[in-house]
Each structure stands twice: as structure tokens, then as C-alpha cells.
Amino acid sequence: MSSVSATVQDVFNEPACPKNAAKSEKERKKGCTKQLQPGGAAGGCAFDGAKIALQPITDVAHLVHGPIACEGNSWDNRGAYSSGSTLYRTGFTTDLNETDVVFGGEKRLYKSIKEIIEKYNPPSVFVYQTCVPAMIGDDIDAVCKAASKKFGKPIVPVNSPGFVGPKNLGNKLAGEALLAHVIGTVEPEYTTPYDVNIIGEYNLAGEMWQVEPLLKEIGFRILSCISGDAKYTDVASSHRARATMMVCSKAMINITRKLEDLYGIPYFEGSFYGIGDMSDSLRQLAQLVIDRGAPAEFMDRVEAVIAREEKLAWDEIMSYLPRLKGKKVLLITGGVKSWSVVAALQEVGMEIVGTSVKKSTKEDKERIKELMGEDAHAFDDMSPREMYKMLKDARADIMLSGGRSQFIALKANMPWLDINQERHHAYSGYKGMVDLVKEIDKALYNPIWDQVRTIAPWQNAADSWQAKADAEAAREAAELAADPAKAEAKRRSKKICKCKTVDLGTIEDAISTGALTTVEQVVDITHAGSGCTGCRGAIGGILEGLAGGPVVELTLEERRAVKICNCKDVTRGMIEDAVHAKNLTTVAEVTEATNAGGGCTSCCDTIDDILSEIVAPIAVAAE
């Protein structure tokens, strides 16, 4: 049995992960998780991730070996639905106490397993390791092994204590536990050429049930779903499927890839979110089973269902199109939803003005780019003030996010819809897409928004926090304009590489001191661009900018002729004139007046800079 660190190392070596493939041996060993910043981190731990990934297996008892915090503070808080057993929603924990910490908790763990089997008799017990027992050296593998032997049932150790890393890593460690102890241990009663696995689907709010009936109608047999609404034996026999669909992006890539390596089951990555993606996924899944011997006519059945369902869905959605077309959405979410929801919203003519990629892998980001063109404003960890600025610049009409960031939207009087795990609506497949559109429409057109945006009769508009935030932003801009040294410091402090936290100043200094000329040199020396590599383009830009030598001053005319917006062909001079002539103050106004920023929107930040250069001195002069 391998140790946790060996398993973690193995997960870091995942060959199917393109991000991993691009790394050197040394970098790979460091792992794919960003070092957590004390005092600046938010998000779940590896245990959390492992539990989330496995808990939807409904007939298993999920026993958390640790003090009360790990289960007591978190149990039954996910909306994964079951069509049968409800045992997975029962919270089991060894609730370690002081004595256990001193004398070890293995006996208590063993007794707990015994009690669970006596009382609930589940087909299996999953035992989750947490930080404290990992530190005191409780060997859960050994306890599980002994218990399996004694009780004649598979007792599965899930070695993913919180401190080994974030949620994402925990997802994968959960996958390793299934591979090591569950998958391949049971043979299905019979097999068909249409047996498939769905991996990374958790049946949140019953989403699987928006898809499953169609799969069954077409003729697929879902041998196992990992892990939404799954039963232990389904998961254990998943090695006999003919094809795998990987749903939740990279969360469980290790299972998918190892099913291919060990059992020759081919896979593809698809999504059930959005009409187009749903249809594509059905076709791809069918193609995989056809490739492995199912009759080619099978595809006709798929196409028939797709044609019927797409028509039904579009007929319903079309009634919303006039109300939603052109509405702007700010999308704050992570992982799979970042790109699946983008695809879905674009189908109803909505425009995505921003998306946070906090929890997304590089692949997720690439997909966003692919779907939205270069206009993907991906906001890593947007601050509340920035969010407010986005809303205020009228670049968003509604915010879609998880439950935790809703308060910023609601307090900014912004329509908001929950699309993360706490949600109560299922949004997958054709029916789910219609429901999502319906919900967005309901939120957008609720009559309360006009009312809550008006201030109380006795209240002074200047005292509202919105006004204060604007004043604060203006003050900061004025301060920078008045103090060139500070403005320079601010300019230099701009983060270029978010993975390795390298700022503009560091890169500029490295270039001028080392007389660097290529991006690769900069990456070697500053480490900027050695993470997700997303900023290498920006580094190229910095190199070009410095290539002429930092001393060359542009003449006023040359400066005015610099093209700011390449999409709409707008120069700095045109923007400056418009700002002066029409007293513009926001990026949105500039876009409306000059078209600059109306294309890929990547120049919006530059427009903002121009605005603060012009507007701030005016504000100062006015005082």
C-alpha cells in the first residue's frame, strides 16, 4: 500500500493532463497546486474534495475519522440526489476526543465500522482520513483491511487528510481510492455493447435525471455513474463498460485515464450543459460504442432523439430570446461550469462580460477562450470593489455565481442566480437549459430591482456606499495622477504572472539588467510564465515595449496615433478627444461613443487608464 505522499506524487504525474505534460520533471514534482497563502486563502481542503467526489455514492456509509469539525460542521450540505438509499446523507464520524489523540484512534475507528455494519449493513464503508489522525499516526489502511476481513465487506480507506492540499487534489485522491479498492472488484451480471460510464457527474439537484432517461431511450446502459446516484456495485463493476464520458472537466481525470490504460475503455470529455454540448456528447458517446462494435445504425437512434429534443427546447427558449438577447452576464464560478455555462448562455444570445476562473484548470480557461474568442475577461479572485466597478460600468445585467459571493451582488442591488452546489434547480440536458433560461429571465425581470435601487426619501445620495465607492476610486485616481512616482510604483506593481506572483517591475528590471530579448529568457530568470503559461503573451508585449529602449519618447502626435482598440480600429487620440468633448467618465461611455472596447474588450483596461489620466486632473482642478 502506498503512502499518501506517494499517491499525491502519482496524481501530480497524471500524463493525460496537458498542463502536466508541458512541465519539466522538476516542476512536475512540485505539484500542480499553488502554494496556499496564510491569511489569504479560501476554499476547501483535500478531505473536503475527496468527500464531495465520493459522497454521492448512495448506499455506502461514509465514515469520517477525525475530530468533530470535519464532519460535524459540514455534513449533509450537498445537493446530490438519490433514487434509492439515503444512507449517504447520514453523517458518520468517529468524533475523536482528547484521549483518542493521546492513545490513538484506531480502536474507535474499528468499533465505529462495526457499529455501522451492525446497524445499517451497507455494502461498503468508506473511511475518510483527516489531519489529526494522520498526524498521530492512525493507520486507517490497516484498520480497513482488518475490518474487511472480519466483516466480509469491502471497507475502503480514503487517504486524503486536509493538509495535503486543496479540494481539487482531494477529488483526485478520492479517484485513487476507488481505483485501488473498488473498481474492478465486482463483475456485472451481464454486459451489452451499449454499456457506458459517466464520470464526474454528481447528480446535483437531480441533474442526472434530466439526461439519464434520454440515454436509456436511445439504448445506452449506464453501467456506472461516478458518483451521482451511484450504487457501490455499479462503481465496482465499471471496468466492464465499453466507453466513458468524463463530465466534470479534470476533477476525476485519473480514473478515466486509468480505466483506459487498465481496461482499454476509451473516453471523451463532454458536457451536459447547453443544448449544443448535450447533443455533441450524445453523438460522441454513441460513436465510441460504435467504434467498439455496436451497430452503426445506433447513431440513427441518437439523431432521432436529438432532433426531437432540440426542437422542443428551442421552441421554448425562443420565447425568451427577445427578452434575454444582448443581456450581459457576470459569471463568478469555478471548474466545469465556467465553460459549460458560457456555452449555454451564448445559445440564448446573452453576452458574458466576465468570468472568474478561480477553480478552473488551464484547460477550462482554454475552453472559455475557444468559446468566447479572445474576449474572455477572466477574473481571478475578483475583489468586491472590482465587482462593483464592473456592475457600475454597466457591463453586466445579472451575476451568476455560487452561494458564497451572492452577497456582493444582492447588496449592490444586482439580479443574481445561484449556479453552484447549493442551488435547487437542475440545469443539465435540454430541459435543464430551458429551466436555466427561465430562471435567469425571472431574476432579471423581477419588479423589485427598480424599487430597491431608489434611495429612501430622508437619505442623502452622497452617503450611499455606492457613492462612497465611486469617490474612493476617483480619489485614488487623482492621487496617482498628482504623484508620478506613486503612479509609476502602481504601474510597476501590476501582477503579470498570477501563478508565480511576478509583477511588471520585476520583469522590466530583469529585462534591462540582463539585456534579455526572448520570452524564454524572461521565464527562466523571473519564473513568470512558468505556471499556467497564460501570461507569456503579455511578457512578449513587455519585451517589445522595451525593445526600442526605455528612453525613446513618443511625440505627442505619435502618441495620439497609437492604436488602442485593434478590433474597431480606434486610436488614443480619438478616445482622448471623445472623452474631452463629451465629458465621459466610464469605459462603457467611451465604448458607446467611440466603439473602442466594443470588440474583444481586451483594451478596456487601457481605456480605463486613459480615462484616469484625463478625468483625474480635471477632478483635481475642479477642487
Binding site: 496556499l36 497563502q37 491569511g39 486563502a41 460535524g72 482528547e98
Partner: protein
């Protein structure tokens, strides 16, 4: 009167208990410009954060030292230091309240020593108050974390007054237990102000987690008692502690600053409120405001109306000790019987509960003992038991994540008790058994259909 039994199970099933550090964190959230910080792995914080967000439906300030595997083994000084520096710089917190967790307590991190070291290394942080409370997850529970934290805040932050200080006769310190909601605190403030006092609540969740729209973005607590107010508590003439677990804090204040205190173990119901009002009359020498007199009369009327529905009802209750004692006593006074009683950890107050026995256990125990009851009272996690037993659930305590207004449930004062009676009685009315033609003479043989449909309407 009750015998307190300790459960013999090794495995807790469907826990009732929540951990000690989050009790501590909640106490810190009642102080203005504060940032609670868990010294542990990031999951410790994340779980607590989500729990509070779902309960209060508010942004919750809570940070972590994000202990990695290596840091856990080698000791977390750098993490604590970095966290303090980052929170001071970024969030501009004026108080950082550090709670230890199971991880760092198991390792044995000496956080007090870390803090002295941080103080030496970072003189620029002299203005930032740092309070550390030892709250291992594997010991005690939520209420205890709160208790220790409030006592520690007083010990560290209240200034000793001059020996001959003239006490401020208007200044009244209230030390509320962890079971009181922002709504409860507002009700108490209203009553106390009616007697001419200027009450100061430590902690004051009513000013931070009452669900208000803040004037500005703030990453720290949204309000609460200020550090200056805490420092100056020492010259108060009066102190009132609510709930037996607040005795430690009250004694700490008395020892440090000589403020005399009065402890109220119960706050819900007619008689406890009478006692509270009598105390305020005595120390203020003032008349009772007219509106309070009217409220008492309303409560008496509500008791009269409500007793038809509450009388003889069997209640299964799972709450933390002090809240259990207070609420169960009130219900017994309304004619209910506590037939199933489960609490989180053994404290002397449970022996005063008016029922046969109280079990230290979990919601599985409550579900087992509660079969056949008329009403379940516990936090929102009682919903599964409620579904399986077909017994309605009245949500009290924390967390309540599937209903709105958890922060405003008000049970104290005449008004609070009045509304509580209405809410509970209405639940009984709504779930009253409705008779059907076959209720008294069922004839299952006549058709298979009647087998499938339950005879009890919900």
C-alpha cells in the same frame, strides 16, 4: 432533576455537535474590525465559513493559516506570522482573533509564544490587537469555544481601571451566551435602554450579523462592539451575564476590573423575564416603561391561547446545554413533556432540565428516542429525522440553513416568548391529525389502493 447519561457509541451518527473553534470565531465576529483566524488547515476554516454563510446568509469574515502538511509537521510559526501580516495589511483588521484547531493542537503549536515572537519581529503591528484562544476540535463543543473566547477577550483587552475610579452608573455590560441571536440582543437592548442604561454587549452580534446593508465594503466584521469600548468596560457599574456558560467571562471581568455581575441562567418565558425586569428596576431605580407592561400582558394572553395546543405534547429536543435548559424549561411551563433529550456535552446545567434523563449524543440518538413524539426541536440537520419519523421539525439553534431569518428568531423578553408560543402552537395546529372515513375503522381488505395511502395527513 435529570440524569445525564453519556452515550456509549464509538461512532457519532448525524452529529448534533459542532466544533469549538467556530464557537470562538462567532464570538470574534461580534467585535468591530475584527478578523477571526483559524490556525489549521484551510478546510477547518472553509467548513466553518460555509456553515455561517448558510445560517446567517451574510458575508462572513474568517481566515486561515492554511497549514500545509510540511508546516503541520515543522510547526506553524511562519504561517501564523504571515497570516497576521497579511490580514493587517490587506483586510485592515484591528483585532485578529486566533483560534487553534485539532491539527495544530495535536502538533502542539505554542501560539502564545508565536505571538510574542511576531510582536518582536513586527513592531509596525503594535496597533493590532491579537487574541489567542486554545480551542482544539477534539474537546468540548461550540458553546465552550464561545465561552473561552469571551473570557479571553476580557482578560486581554479590558483595561484595569484606576483603583478609585468613579463607576459609570449608566454603563451596563451584557455578556450574552452563544445561544442568543442578533434578534435576541436587539430585544434586550431595547428593554435595557428603557431603564435609562447604555448597554454594551460583548460580543455584539446584533451589530454585525443582523443582516444589514453595510455602508461600505468591509472584509472584516461588519460591526459590533469596538476595541475602545471593550478597553473601557472596566468602569461600568453593572454587568449581566446570560447563560451559565458566561459565568467564566463575568468572573474574569469582576476579577480584573471589579465590575459586579448578575448571572441569568434562563431568559425565555414569563418568570425569567419577570426576574430580569425586576433586576433592572432594582439597579436603575426606575419605573418600568409602559410598553413593557403591555408586552407582559400580551404574553400572558398568548400563554392562555396557546396552552390548548401545547398542553400534553411530547417534545424531542436536541440543543447545546444552556439553550436546552432554557428552552425546555419554557416548554415544560407551557404544558409540554420533554420525552427525548439529547445534548452535546455534559455540563452541570443539564441536571436541572425537567425530564427523566438527558443523553450526551447525536441526532441518531434523538431520532431513536424521538419516535412517537409530537415535535422535534433541534437545528436544521434534524430535517432527515423529521422526514423519516413523519414528525414536524421546529428549527432552533445553529445551523439553520434551509430557512430564512435564522438571525432574527427572537425568544427573549415578553415579546420573544409571545411569538415563540405562536410559532410552536401554529406548528401543532398545522400538523394536527385530520380524521378520514377510515381513521377509526380501517378496512384494508377492500382494496389495495387504501394500503398505499397513509392515514395521516401532513
Amino acid at each position: 432533576m435529570a440524569i445525564v447519561e453519556i452515550g456509549k457509541k464509538a461512532c457519532a451518527v448525524n452529529p448534533l455537535k459542532m466544533s469549538q473553534p467556530i464557537g470562538g470565531a462567532l464570538a470574534f465576529m461580534g467585535i468591530r474590525d475584527s478578523m477571526p483566524l483559524f490556525h489549521g488547515s484551510q478546510g477547518c476554516t472553509s467548513f466553518g465559513l460555509v456553515l455561517f454563510v448558510r445560517h446567517f446568509k451574510e458575508a462572513i469574515p474568517l481566515q486561515t493559516t492554511a497549514m500545509s502538511e510540511v508546516a503541520t509537521v515543522l510547526g506553524g510559526y511562519e504561517n501564523v506570522e504571515q497570516a497576521i501580516v497579511n490580514i493587517s495589511n490587506k483586510q485592515k483588521a484591528r483585532l485578529i482573533g486566533i483560534c487553534s484547531t485539532g491539527v495544530t493542537e495535536t502538533k502542539g503549536d505554542d501560539v502564545d509564544a508565536y505571538i510574542s515572537l511576531v510582536r518582536q519581529q513586527h513592531p509596525e503591528l503594535d496597533d493590532i490587537a491579537l487574541v489567542y484562544v486554545s480551542t482544539p476540535d477534539f474537546k468540548d463543543a461550540f458553546q465552550d469555544g464561545w465561552e473561552k473566547t469571551v473570557a479571553k477577550i476580557i482578560e486581554k483587552l479590558v483595561k484595569e481601571p484606576e483603583p478609585d475610579v468613579a463607576r459609570d452608573q449608566k454603563k451596563l455590560v451584557v455578556l450574552p451566551g452563544s445561544q442568543y441571536t442578533p434578534g435576541d440582543l436587539d430585544e434586550l437592548r431595547d428593554i435595557i435602554e428603557g431603564f435609562g442604561f447604555e448597554p454594551l454587549f460583548l460580543p455584539d452580534l446584533a451589530a454585525s450579523l443582523d443582516g444589514h446593508i453595510p455602508d461600505d465594503f468591509t472584509p472584516t466584521s461588519l460591526g459590533g462592539i469596538s476595541l475602545e469600548e471593550i478597553a473601557a468596560l472596566g468602569d461600568a457599574a453593572h454587568c449581566i451575564a446570560l447563560g451559565s456558560h458566561m459565568k467564566l467571562a463575568a468572573e474574569t471581568l469582576q476579577k480584573k476590573a471589579g465590575v459586579p455581575f448578575k448571572l441569568f441562567e434562563r431568559m425565555i418565558g414569563l418568570l425569567p423575564t419577570d426576574a430580569f425586569i425586576a433586576h433592572l428596576m432594582e439597579i436603575s431605580g426606575r419605573e418600568v416603561p409602559l410598553r413593557i407592561k403591555r408586552q407582559r400582558s400580551q404574553l400572558v394572553d398568548a400563554m392562555l391561547d396557546g396552552h390548548f395546543h401545547t398542553g400534553g405534547k411530547k417534545i424531542a429536543m436536541g440543543l447545546e446545554p444552556d439553550f436546552f435548559y432554557d428552552l425546555s424549561s419554557f416548554l415544560v411551563e407551557m404544558g409540554c413533556h420533554i420525552t427525548a433529550a439529547v445534548s452535546t456535552n455534559a455540563t452541570p446545567i443539564l441536571e436541572k432540565v425537567q425530564c427523566e434523563s438527558v443523553l450526551i449524543g447525536d441526532l441518531e440518538d434523538l431520532e431513536r428516542l424521538g419516535a412517537g413524539c409530537d415535535l422535534l426541536i433541534t437545528h436544521a440537520h434534524g430535517r432527515q429525522a423529521s422526514e423519516r419519523l413523519h414528525i414536524p421539525l421546529f428549527r432552533m439553534g445553529l445551523p439553520i440553513f434551509d430557512r430564512l431569518g435564522a438571525g432574527h428568531i427572537t425568544a427573549v423578553g415578553y415579546r420573544g416568548a409571545r411569538d415563540l408560543i405562536f410559532d410552536i402552537a401554529n406548528m401543532f395546529i398545522a400538523n394536527a391529525h385530520v380524521a378520514r372515513p377510515d381513521t377509526w375503522y380501517p378496512h384494508p381488505a377492500e382494496g389495495a389502493d387504501s394500503l398505499a395511502s397513509p392515514t395521516v395527513a401532513h
